[in-house]
């Protein structure tokens, strides 16, 4: 307990996820000789890259207190529009822009119904889930369209050899470490509130953590050239951008504030409707882009492309510590959760465990990751020591307190 008080970040959701990630990686290494192989590590991302793209924006949507169930259908629709236009003889460039326009239209529709007509997003996007998929079926019927130009498919399929992505990877690593430091110390208050700068050293555990991270990154760097597809690097960049938007901009702050207390945000003069509209448009555009990447990866599109992706995407976001009621969660958590889920899936896939069982394991992890800290907290509450004068207010505790009142 003393340790937990000394290092509050130890109690954070992200720390828990990091521990789970380490455990998952350790188990994977010990169970399969093929796991720690750069091609496989690249595959971890490659095989789920479209879901990963959408996860980034879904996190914003859920933090904002909404949900978007239509993403998988928007992916299917954009891929189908691409295929339809391309089949008709349009150039791929114009087909891509039509596909993105279709995504934009879906986003505007979702956003309009949710933000301006005040219909719950669950209802709107559930109807969208059916209708957008239907639109895709109208376009492609039972046809399958392929033979996209080489440059398009190679974007998702070919390994990148240039060293610029490697540099990007360094950047990702640096910023990741920077964020960890930023998140786990009181740097934030110091910067934001102009309080006395009390930079707390990460402490031994934090140092070990950062060293491990750095070591892994260096190792990956040494091997990464020629292993990862371009889409993976695009994902890295988009991850950084969304992390930046959510964690460091005013818009990001609005997302949290509105998700926490919509009425309050309105009274405070925030443009709630515009923010919600923007988020739904972002979500649909990202889904449309992910749909294009899916088309590039499988090289051939039918109207059923990406069907059923939505639950996986939402699972990853929720495991990342984003509360379904909005207002809490960080991009670091979502990123870690993505790594946890993808690594677990990959490890189980290497042991030839079937889809159903894999989904069960991840489902159990999802429940336990909230349940066990809750239990720990309950037990802690009965310990006399913590009952007397423990006034640590931590994000994780806040989150749980919020959730317990809201579920109860």
């Amino acid at each position: 307990m003393k340790l937990l008080e000394r290092y509050p970040w130890l109690r954070r959701w992200e720390t828990l996820l990091f521990v789970i990630l380490c455990a998952a990686v350790f188990i994977n290494i010990s169970l399969s000789e093929h796991y720690f192989n750069i091609d496989n590590l690249a595959n971890i991302f490659h095989l789920s890259i479209e879901k990963a793209f959408v996860v980034l924006v879904m996190a914003l949507v859920i933090i904002n207190g909404e949900i978007d169930l239509s993403v998988a259908s928007v992916m299917g629709l954009s891929a189908s529009v691409l295929a339809y236009e391309f089949e008709k003889g349009a150039s791929l460039e114009s087909a891509i822009s039509y596909a993105m326009l279709a995504g934009l239209a879906c986003g505007l529709a979702n956003g309009f119904f949710v933000a301006y007509l005040n219909i719950p997003s669950l209802v709107v996007t559930l109807a969208g889930l059916i209708a957008y998929r239907g639109a895709a079926r109208i376009l492609l019927e039972d046809r399958s369209v392929g033979n996209f130009p080489e440059w398009f498919t190679s974007f998702a399929l070919d390994d990148v050899y240039v060293s610029i992505p490697t540099l990007l990877f360094v950047l990702v690593g640096l910023i990741l470490i920077g964020t960890l430091v930023y998140q786990f110390t009181n740097l934030r208050q110091a910067v934001e509130e102009g309080a006395a700068f009390r930079f707390r050293k990460p402490g031994p555990v934090g140092l070990v953590l950062i060293t491990v991270l750095a070591a892994v990154l260096v190792y990956m760097l040494a091997l990464s050239s020629g292993a990862f597809e371009a889409t993976t690097y695009v994902f890295a960049v988009l991850y950084l951008i969304s992390l930046g938007i959510l964690q460091f901009t005013n818009f990001g702050r609005y997302i949290y504030v509105i998700g926490n207390n919509r009425a309050g945000a309105e009274y405070a003069g925030l443009r709630v409707k515009q923010v919600k509209m923007t988020i739904f448009v972002m979500s649909a555009l990202m889904a449309a882009f992910a749909g294009l990447m899916y088309a590039a990866r499988v090289g051939n599109i039918r109207a059923n492309a990406a069907e059923g992706f939505e639950l996986d995407i939402i699972t990853i976001v929720l495991l990342g510590g984003v509360s379904i009621f909005g207002g809490t969660g960080t991009m670091v958590g979502v990123g870690l959760s993505l790594l946890v889920v993808l690594n677990l899936r990959n490890g189980m896939s290497l042991r030839n465990i079937n889809d159903n069982t894999r989904a069960s394991v991840i489902g159990a992890l999802l429940i336990l990751s909230v349940l066990i800290p809750n239990w720990a907290q309950t037990i802690q509450r009965f310990l006399p020591r913590t009952l007397s004068g423990d006034n640590l207010t931590l994000d994780l505790e806040n989150k749980e307190a919020r959730e317990s009142t809201e579920t109860a």
């Binding site: 595959n43 095989l47 046809r143 499988v298 090289g299 051939n300 599109i301 039918r302 896939s349 030839n352």
Partner: protein
């Protein structure tokens, strides 16, 4: 269209006489048991009884060939069908297996993965449902796809009788490539052969291989077409759901159900008269044959070339041939259809039950009734 008819004829003839031809060419290639191969059997989805039968057949061959390696059986769930298959193939490449046997969910979308598997030196064989030729060594065709149309037309004719009548098709999903090919073959037969003039195909609907949807679509058909006399469902899920719908509505005496079905699932409906006739090939045999072919290819005993003859254990001799339905593609044609009626459904269902219990030890499958071949010869 004459060309197509000719092709059908050639195929049928080839299917019947090829074993004899190859015997003249020299001795068929025989597998040498005991070589270590890790193999993946990858059907379309989990939870479909026919694929479990294929698994049993493959396990039978696995034991027979005393392969000390592993036979991995894995498939995606239906809501993750194509990405799931891609993932399993990629994982198989990482695990450096020796061969993958795929029943593909899509003709083209799996290509990038199967091609990279082939580049990695893995033998890729498709069965039940192929991928494009550049992504496979060869395809084990359960039956000739054109023959499926013929068999369905024959069943429709024998159920409806000489005076014919209206019938409709209840298929799987609108983009299911196997079903679409079969339906197309059926339509060709109906158009070109005067024997089937009296049969009128009024509609094609899709139950998405979901029992509930198929049930509703079947009822929708009888509501929309008051004179409908037959529902033809070329999918095991659809035929069972349609038969159940007719049974529930007490319409078995008026509207018959036929198509492709599993004897064990259909036995009761056939005995009650809801599904007087239906057909299927043996998925156990398909799994067995697929395993044999893959084993021969992966051990290097056989090359995937046209005209090569080999022996597949208890199932006898087969020859690799050009696939008449796809360009530049090779196939091994298993065949034949078994047509099930009230007379023979009993023993079939019983056989299958024993198979379930003995984990694929029974090999009565070998003595197959060849009704379908006779029928198609006649047609």
């Amino acid at each position: 269209m004459n060309k197509l008819r000719f092709l059908i004829l050639v195929t049928v003839i080839l299917a019947v006489i090829l074993p004899g031809v190859s015997a003249q060419d020299g001795d068929p290639i025989v597998a040498e048991p005991g070589q270590e191969l890790n193999m993946v059997l990858l059907p379309k989805t989990l939870g479909n009884a026919v694929f479990d039968q294929a698994h049993e057949g493959a396990m039978e061959a696995h034991e027979e060939l005393e392969n000390p390696g592993e036979l991995i059986f894995n498939a995606p769930t239906p809501d993750n069908a194509i990405p799931g298959q891609i993932e399993i193939i990629e994982s198989a490449i990482t695990q450096e297996v020796d061969a993958i046997m795929i029943s593909a969910n899509d003709y083209e979308q799996l290509l990038p993965s199967t091609q990279s598997a082939m580049e990695a030196g893995i033998t890729v064989v498709t069965w039940d449902s192929p991928v494009a030729p550049e992504g496979e060594a060869l395809f084990i065709a359960q039956v000739d796809f054109d023959e499926t149309g013929q068999v369905m037309a024959d069943m429709a004719l024998s159920i409806l009788g000489e005076e014919g009548g209206e019938f409709a098709i209840l298929s799987a999903t609108p983009d299911a490539s196997n079903q679409n090919a079969w339906i197309e073959a059926l339509q060709t037969v109906l158009e070109e052969d005067d024997t089937y003039e009296a049969l009128e195909l009024v509609d094609i609907v899709y139950g998405n291989d979901d029992p509930d949807d198929s049930y509703n679509e079947a009822l929708g058909l009888i509501d929309s077409y008051p004179d409908l006399q037959l529902i033809m469902a070329p999918t095991t899920v659809g035929i069972a759901a349609a038969a159940k719908a007719m049974f529930d509505e007490g319409l078995c005496s008026e509207i018959a159900v036929s198509g492709l079905g599993l004897p064990a699932e259909m036995q009761e409906f056939t005995e009650l008269g809801c599904a007087p006739q239906f057909a299927l090939w043996s998925f156990t045999d398909l799994g067995y044959l697929t395993y044999y072919v893959t084993y021969l290819l992966a051990t290097g005993a056989m090359e995937a070339e046209e005209g090569v003859t080999f022996e597949a254990g208890r199932m006898g001799t087969y020859t690799i041939e050009a696939d008449p339905t796809r360009e530049d593609a090779l196939r091994v044609l298993m065949g034949p259809f078994s047509v099930y009626t009230e007379e023979n459904i009993d023993e079939w269902a019983m056989d299958e039950e024993e198979m379930d219990e003995e984990e694929g030890e029974g090999d009565e499958e070998g003595e197959m009734e060849e009704e379908a071949t006779e029928e198609s010869d006649a047609g």
